[in-house]
Symmetry: C2
Subunit: 404 residues, 2 copies
């Protein structure tokens, strides 16, 4: 649902002039129907993911995507959201069964019915997911659910260099072991955990080295067997010892440390500094190269920029003083360079945050004018009032017609 | 790729009159690029799936979809194909990374680049997959690949009644055990295996009862643990003994027996009889009901129709004499009733075979006129020459404009 961001909602009444129609806005945060025997749930876009999973947890089911805990289903649909579990569970387009959508002309349509697979007509669900609300206004979502795994185990392991960590990661991916989640944190980020992590995380001082976070899930026996194989696969990359979060509480805290790393950095940033983060993604074999190149630490520290790399793609976060023109220009250059390098590697400028306003220019470079023109053809078909302005989330993904 | 069915290809030359352009047709059966380190491969639509997996098998990778062995990638893209491995591996929309597409106006576009996930612009890949060639002509496909599992194990188990088999199946699905494949064969189909199966399958006489075929995959240890849990989960449904295919050859043969059940039935049908098969799909909890209801065996045998139910959805196959009006009408009624019942259960008339010509009427009943109108809006945008005829696979999915 594009008109809502991940954290906003609306409420109130609206009377359409001369129409006699009153439209009532609510938070749209209701779970409308839960079908545990079909492994699906029908929700409104304002439902928060964490709340949803809490509501249904007694059924043994969950929506296994794992973005920021503030995320709402509507925003997740709008951006084709993924998060730390993407490796095993993919992204939102894999979990939306059907959508109810208000079209530009006011008609309300449902993209499909509720079976878990279908080949009946065009894949409208996939058409609206990730469209950032520019093709229709999503008002209801039927979501596929997954069984909560019998057991999980979180392990972390450090490596002397980023390249070694990524070689190890590639080998694990190639082996077919299905980690629930798989994340990389660099030395800077591990420093943040050591200095500002919660008590449970600070039970010891962590190596301030590139570190892989792995979440195993499945049956208890299967996890044991997976761990044995992972140790075998990474042993040539000079890993530190594999540390397991023993009590379940520590497991949650360790994972929270990774998930909230960005918040931790925001909360501990220098007064007045702001964040610029980006999320390029490249084919697997180029990951070591782009992560190795993406931030010149020397250059950052010379300019007083605090930069780090994290995550499942090529997430990069940098903090800088917005009133310092030199810093701002330097950060912009780092981000621009990184996006161009990603494109040279047949990658994307946005692995999961979507285009919005900030990345519209890169989209042409990434996809080519022909592809963009065809996307615009579809946009015009879905939102035909284009004499001056579009109706549906105008200005996102593409510039307004009158400005092109 | 819509213009090609799963089993056809074209070759030759075509000179566009007055244009000076000669277009060369080939089988379009080339593997264009293989990137084992990125776990992807770029192919033309005429590549046969079995050939592809043979070509790349030394890399330890495969495209894990498993339809009929005659399937070509283009046809699989066109119908959003799945097959026996759908439970674990989903369908074609989950494996197509990008497509190169010739649009109606002759422009050639690429839907996206090669990273494994992206939120950059509209999901054009998902738009063309399953569109049966009516939105564009797919000429190149980049496919995601999966690691070949370390080990597999095939087990079969029979139940006294279809309902018990489906209750057992639902319980396994709810447990989160990730079977690679999971199929149901009814008593009639098991008779066919006993009478006409290959030598390896006929090592013993199988119970002619509703039977679940399960394919476990993963590490050897994980499979052991999964099997233990499955036995626990199904024990209340009065299952027969779990039979494992011991030598790997028997495993392949057993699976082939399931996969080729339809071919076996075709080859052993009564002289002159023809096949009518359909593939409805319903939400999980309704599966027992629709399968229990979908063929009245008594009625079939009274009329001399040979009917059976098989597969991962609600695949039904019936053989009848096309010159016998009573039989033909009865078969049509069974199929129509089944489709209507599936729709009443919030299901679909096509789980994976797509709409083509035969199911166009049901599409309106399934999705509603508003949804169909919006699909047609997109069709007109993608294929705007609609004064008389469309250019792109005209008459499939939707009637031609002049006939509506």
């Amino acid at each position: 649902m594009g008109a809502f961001g991940a954290g906003s909602s609306v409420e109130g009444n609206f009377s359409a002039p001369h129409s006699g129609i009153t439209i009532e806005f609510t938070h749209m945060d209701k779970i409308l129907a839960f079908h545990p025997d079909d492994l699906d749930v029908v929700v409104q876009p304002g439902v928060n993911l964490v709340n949803l999973n809490n509501e249904i947890k007694d059924s043994g089911l969950l929506l296994p995507l794992d973005p920021s805990p503030t995320a709402m289903i509507g925003g997740m649909v709008s951006t084709n959201c993924s998060g730390t579990n993407a490796m095993r569970y993919g992204n939102m387009k894999d979990w939306a069964i059907n959508l109810t959508v208000v079209l530009a002309d006011g008609r309300v349509v449902k993209t499909r019915r509720r079976p878990r697979k279908t080949s009946a007509g065009y894949n409208l669900t996939g058409f609206f997911v990730g469209a950032e609300g520019t093709l229709g206004l999503v008002t209801e979502i039927t979501l596929k659910l997954a069984p909560i795994p019998q057991d999980t185990s979180v392990a972390i392991v450090s490596f002397p260099r980023v390249r070694a960590a990524i070689t190890a990661a590639s080998r694990i991916i190639r082996s077919g072991i299905q980690l629930a989640a798989f994340e990389l944190m660099d030395d800077v980020q591990m420093q943040v955990v050591n200095r500002h992590g919660s008590a449970a995380v600070k039970i010891r001082k962590w190596e301030e080295e590139p570190t892989l976070f792995m979440k195993f899930s499945g049956t208890t026996d299967a996890i044991k067997s997976d761990i044995k194989r992972v140790q075998e696969l990474i042993k040539n990359e000079k890993p530190g010892p594999l540390h397991f979060a023993k009590p379940k509480l520590e497991e949650l805290d360790l994972w929270a440390a990774r998930k909230e790393a960005l918040f931790t950095m925001v909360s501990t940033r220098k007064e007045g500094n702001v964040l610029w983060s980006t999320d390029v993604a490249v084919p697997l074999s180029r990951l070591a190269v782009i992560i190795g190149e993406n931030i010149s630490k020397d250059e950052c520290s010379k300019l007083g920029i605090f930069g780090t790399v994290t995550g499942h793609v090529g997430d990069t976060a940098m903090f800088y003083d917005p009133h310092n023109a030199e810093q701002k220009a330097a950060v912009k250059k780092v981000v621009d360079d990184m996006m161009h390098r990603a494109l040279e590697m047949d990658g994307t400028v946005s692995g999961e945050h979507a285009i919005g306003i900030g990345k519209k220019d890169c989209l042409v470079e990434e996809l080519g004018q022909g592809t963009i023109d065809f996307m615009k053809t579809l946009k015009r078909a879905a939102d035909p009032k284009h004499a001056a302005l579009w109706l549906l989330n105008p200005g996102k993904v593409f510039d307004l017609p009158h400005s092109t």
